[in-house]
Amino acid sequence: MKQKSMFSILALTVLPTLVGCGSSDSSSSDEDSVTLEVFNIKTETAEQMDALVETFEETHEDIQVNMTTVGGGTDATAALQSKFSSGDEPDIFMLGGLADAQTWEHKLYDVGGIEIAENAIEGTLEGATLNGTVLGVPMNIEGYGWLVNTEIFEKAGIDVASIQSFADFEAAVQTLDEQKAELGLDGVFGFSGGETWVSSQFSSNFFAPEFNNSLKEAYEGETLELTYADRMKEYADMAVEYNARPLEAMDYSTSVEELFASEKVAIIHQGNWIVPTLNSLDETFAEDKLSIVPMFVEDDTEGKIVAGPAWYWGVNKDKDQEVIDASIEFLNWMYTDPEAMTSIINDFEFIPAYTNFSSDDITDPLSNEIYTYLNDGNTVPWVHNSYPDGYGQNTFGVNLQAYAAGQISWDEFTSTLIDTWNDERK
């Protein structure tokens, strides 16, 4: 107790002085230089981002970039909120979709006219456009769905490419389950339902068609019908029944790093952001065995995955024009400078959201696959970013856990989903 409070008093008194010194020093050292405060929440690529910033500073001597990286999810929202509340506002920060754009609308600069906004792949700006004003530019494209280990499928005699309908998928799961012992599997699925964000993403597949696969319509959707609840139940039941551990309790690291990477499960619900992690555990995994299987929701034979920009860069408009210009310069540079573009593809392993990149450049097979889905129009957007605040995780995610644990029935589950949605959107 005592040590704790002593420490916090110390921290409270010392920190502001340090921060104060830091900022006053840098601004007074050179009259013409601008220091950009960037608030980044993509921890997976924090190192790459720091390297990229260094390259930027080498070519732009009058602009300095101060990158703050805070871990994803709720913590980042809270950290961003406290930055704004304390008056220490960042110049560039990240938006997770329309809800965030709405929250920060009064702070966001119209970036519709800047170079990269014009380069953006059609439709990718929708998640940050309010009333016709573009408030953010996409960071990258991320896709997710059922990630599978093709090697295990092959051993069980299933060709992943031949899964062309819901029935095929169901049959494949059955086959895998029957051969669980020979294949050395703990379970067919490694669905980390303990992480409510995973469940929230899972829900996108079933919510999107109801809103015509539009982020805007989902964001404005006043009522939820759950048109595709039956198909959702079939998928959810399968995941619950064949999960390696109780679905409601499995966490991310058990699912990805422990079970999937060591081939104890064949299917997980994740996205291309796990590729760097998989590479660090097994260099050949992503290269040789990783693939994505679509979900068959609207149509029994037409499979779709979820793909689109997960994050947008927003520019703070309450700053000096000089700072705003520098911010835009930085964003433009990141996605148009040849050196930066190479880094975005090779070091960040991003799927670019801009047309000036060539699809041939994407080296990672999974990213390439997702990019193909996107080009063929076989994707739905990240609609869970258009749900009411916190709905995906705290309502869908939490209640899916309760359903998986047998605490509530499916009917109770769906009626909670509908009631909460309609209540929040009243």
């Binding site: 709720t74 929202t77 929250t103 605040d389 916190g390 939490v398 856990q401 644990a405």
Partner: protein, 288 residues
């Protein structure tokens, strides 16, 4: 004399009062104000009076978290104090050098931060227990933290382990302050060690209970980081404590005003419980 004293009294008090005003009273009043509005963190839309409070009492998740927090606190306060007193009695026996060693070892968990503790115990429950379960085939060790019950007990175990050492130190200092002659007199009158403990040491320890009960009770109620690291409130929010419920309401659901009203309710509950506890234990205190 009195005026003189009161002058320096107030001057010396000023820094403390200023600090209290800045970090406590101002946030408290603005917080109270925000709890009556539909504040979203940036702008206040309208003044909605007590709507937030009415909504809070109808919010099942909030009520569940209060019940969970209360039962967690009750059980952990009991277990912490029983084990701390037990440990304190043990290490005040005449063991020579070992005394210091044991004291240090028992106190150590308290030096580790809550988040780290949470992850350590998550590892123990998920990995170590699982391995023991697989080796011995005893079901007791399997699936810890997967169910509401094991999540609850996991939190209690973690917290007892963390706090016992600290409370032990407080008990030790009070045990050492019991006058030797009283104990000797009792011994000569033929009282057994057990009788001495119950009839003499326990009553003499009453001031210690005031302190330890207050510390454990308020810490148990406010627990957040251990909760976050160990279970994140899961499965299905069954192990979500009130602090976490409020945090999620504010930063995940972005209902800042509503969350603020929950926080005020929570504050009132903690104040009432603490006041009752202190006044009850104070009455039982006796002087040697």
């Amino acid at each position: 004399m009195l005026t003189n004293r009161s002058k320096s009294f107030w001057i010396l008090l000023t820094p403390a009062i200023a600090a209290l005003v800045v970090v406590l009273f101002i946030p408290l009043t603005t917080g109270m104000y925000y709890s009556l509005t539909d504040w979203n963190g940036n702008t206040v839309g309208e003044f909605i009076q007590f709507d937030n409070y009415i909504r809070a009492f109808k919010d099942e998740g909030f009520i569940d978290s209060l019940i969970f927090t209360a039962s967690f606190s009750f059980l952990s306060v009991l277990l912490i104090n029983v084990s701390a007193l037990g440990l304190a009695t043990l290490v005040t026996q005449k063991l020579g050098k070992w005394n210091t060693l044991f004291r240090t070892v028992f106190f150590m968990p308290n030096l580790i931060g809550g988040i780290v503790l949470g992850f350590i115990w998550q590892f123990i429950f998920n990995k170590a227990f699982e391995s023991i379960g697989n080796l011995t085939n005893i079901d007791f060790f399997k699936g810890w933290l997967d169910t509401p019950e094991t999540g609850f007990w996991g939190l209690v175990i973690l917290f007892v382990w963390q706090m016992s050492g600290y409370m032990m130190l407080i008990y030790i200092s009070f045990l050492n302050n019991i006058p030797e002659e009283i104990l000797e007199a009792a011994d000569m009158d033929g009282a057994s060690p057990m009788q001495i403990f119950i009839r003499i040491k326990l009553p003499m320890l009453m001031p210690a209970f005031t302190v330890t009960l207050f510390l454990t009770l308020s810490n148990a109620f406010k627990l957040y980081d251990q909760n976050l690291a160990l279970t994140q409130g899961g499965p299905f929010n069954s192990t979500q404590m009130t602090a976490m419920n409020i945090y999620n309401e504010a930063f995940s659901m972005r209902n800042m005003g509503f969350a603020q009203s929950k926080a005020v309710i929570f504050l009132v509950i903690i104040v009432i419980i603490s006041v009752i506890q202190i006044s009850v234990t104070r009455k039982k205190e006796i002087s040697a």
